[in-house]
C-alpha cells in the first residue's frame, strides 16, 4: 500500500519544493519506489529543482484529461534509482485539477509506488486543498518566523478538517513539523524563534530542522536536490529527516552554534 505524504505550509517561499525534492530523493535512496507529484498548477517548479525541466513532455493535467498516460508522463530521475517526477501543468485554468481526476491518478500511482510525495502550492486555494486531501501523512514546512508559523497553524486546521481522512472519519493525518532556514546564531541572540518555541506553538511532532544554508541555493542553481550534497549541513539534516520519517530515532543536529575558540569568543566574529 502506497503512503501519500503531502508537503505543505500555507505560506509561500518557505521551502516546500526544496523539501519535496529532498524527501522524495531521500526515500528513493533508502530503497523505496517514490514519485514526487507537483500540485502547483500554473507555476511548475519541481522540474527545475529536480533538474529535469527539459525532459517534460506531458503533465499532470494531461493525464487527468486522458491526453497522455502515466507511463508517457512520469519522468525517471537520472541520478537516483526508484525515483520519478510527475510535473505540474502550466495551464492558467485553476480548476484543471478535479478531485475525481486527482483520485484516479493517485490510485494508479499507488499500485506501483511505495511513496507518493505531493508538493503543495502555497495558499489555501483549491490546488493546496487538492494536494492535502488524499494524504496519509503531512510534512508541514515552517520557517521560524511569525507569518510562516501562523500559516502553518491554519494548514494544520485544514489537515484535520478538510482531508479525506477527516471527512470519512478515519484516523487523522499524521502531522510532522519540518523547520527550515533555521539559524542557531540568531536564535541564541534572541532574534529568531527557537525550535522549542515553534514546537510549543504548533504542538506537533518535530521531524527535522534544516539549517539556513548556502548549499540550498547552490543545489537549486544546479538542479540537484540538496540531499545529494552529503557534505553539506542541509543535506545531512535532510538525510536525518528521512530516517525519522521512516521511524528511526535520530538525534537532532545543527541546533546550536558551533563552539568558537577562546580568541573568537573574546573578540567576537
Amino acid at each position: 500500500m502506497a503512503k501519500i505524504i503531502v508537503v505543505t505550509s500555507g505560506k509561500g517561499g518557505v521551502g516546500k519544493t526544496t523539501s519535496s525534492a529532498a524527501i522524495g530523493t531521500g526515500l528513493a535512496l533508502a530503497g523505496h519506489k517514490t514519485v514526487i507529484v507537483d500540485f502547483d498548477i500554473g507555476l511548475r517548479n519541481l522540474d527545475l529543482i529536480m533538474g529535469c525541466e527539459r525532459r517534460v513532455v506531458y503533465d499532470f493535467v494531461n493525464v487527468i484529461n486522458g491526453e497522455a498516460n502515466l507511463k508517457q508522463t512520469l519522468i525517471k530521475d537520472k541520478r537516483t534509482d526508484n525515483l520519478f517526477i510527475l510535473p505540474a501543468s502550466q495551464t492558467r485554468d485553476k480548476d484543471a485539477l478535479t478531485r475525481e481526476g486527482v483520485e484516479k491518478v493517485l490510485n494508479e500511482l499507488a499500485k506501483d509506488f511505495d511513496f507518493i510525495i505531493c508538493d503543495s502550492p502555497a495558499g489555501i486555494e483549491s490546488g493546496a486543498m487538492m494536494a492535502l486531501y488524499f494524504a496519509d501523512e503531512a510534512v508541514v514546512v515552517t520557517n521560524p518566523e511569525v507569518s510562516s508559523v501562523r500559516d502553518s497553524d491554519r494548514i494544520l486546521g485544514m489537515l484535520s478538517s478538510k482531508s479525506r481522512r477527516a471527512e470519512q472519519g478515519l484516523e487523522g493525518i499524521k502531522e510532522h513539523l519540518l523547520l527550515t532556514r533555521y539559524n542557531p546564531e540568531r536564535v541564541e541572540k534572541g532574534e529568531m524563534l527557537s525550535v522549542e518555541d515553534v514546537k510549543e506553538i504548533l504542538a506537533i511532532e518535530l521531524v527535522g530542522v534544516i539549517p539556513e544554508s548556502q548549499a540550498v541555493l547552490n543545489a537549486s542553481n544546479s538542479g540537484q536536490p540538496v540531499i545529494l550534497d552529503k557534505d553539506s549541513d542541509a543535506g545531512q539534516a535532510y538525510l536525518d529527516t528521512i530516517k525519522r520519517l521512516l521511524g528511526e530515532q535520530v538525534p537532532f543536529r545543527f541546533l546550536t552554534v558551533e563552539k568558537k575558540g577562546f580568541i573568537k569568543r573574546i573578540f567576537g566574529g
Binding site: 536564535v187 506553538i201 573578540f267 567576537g268
Partner: protein, 86 residues
C-alpha cells in the same frame, strides 16, 4: 557572546515578542476554527431578516461566537447600516 556584545546587550529580545504574539493569535484563530458549523448559516439567516427591512450588503454584518470561561458563550452581532437608511 563576545565582549563587545556584552556592552551593547540591552537590545530587546524580539524572538520572545514573536512567540507571545503568535501564542495569542493562534489561540484566537483556533477558537474560531472550532466554532459551530451553523454559524455561517445563522449569519445568512440573520442577514436575510434584516434585509426585509433595510437593504444592506452582505459584508456589513459580522457574527461571532465567543467562549467566555467554561459556562458562557456570547453571540456577538455587528451590523453596519448605510448612512441614508437610518
Amino acid at each position: 557572546m563576545s565582549l563587545l556584545d556584552y556592552f551593547r546587550s540591552t537590545k530587546k529580545n524580539t524572538a520572545n515578542t514573536a512567540k507571545e504574539r503568535l501564542q495569542i493569535i493562534v489561540a484566537h484563530e483556533r477558537k474560531r476554527r472550532n466554532g459551530p458549523d451553523y454559524l455561517p448559516q445563522l449569519e445568512r439567516d440573520i442577514l436575510e431578516v434584516i434585509r426585509k427591512y433595510v437593504d444592506i450588503p452582505a459584508d456589513q454584518i459580522a457574527v461571532s461566537l465567543e467562549q467566555r470561561g467554561d459556562q458562557i458563550s456570547v453571540l456577538e452581532l455587528n451590523v453596519t447600516f448605510p448612512d441614508d437608511k437610518r
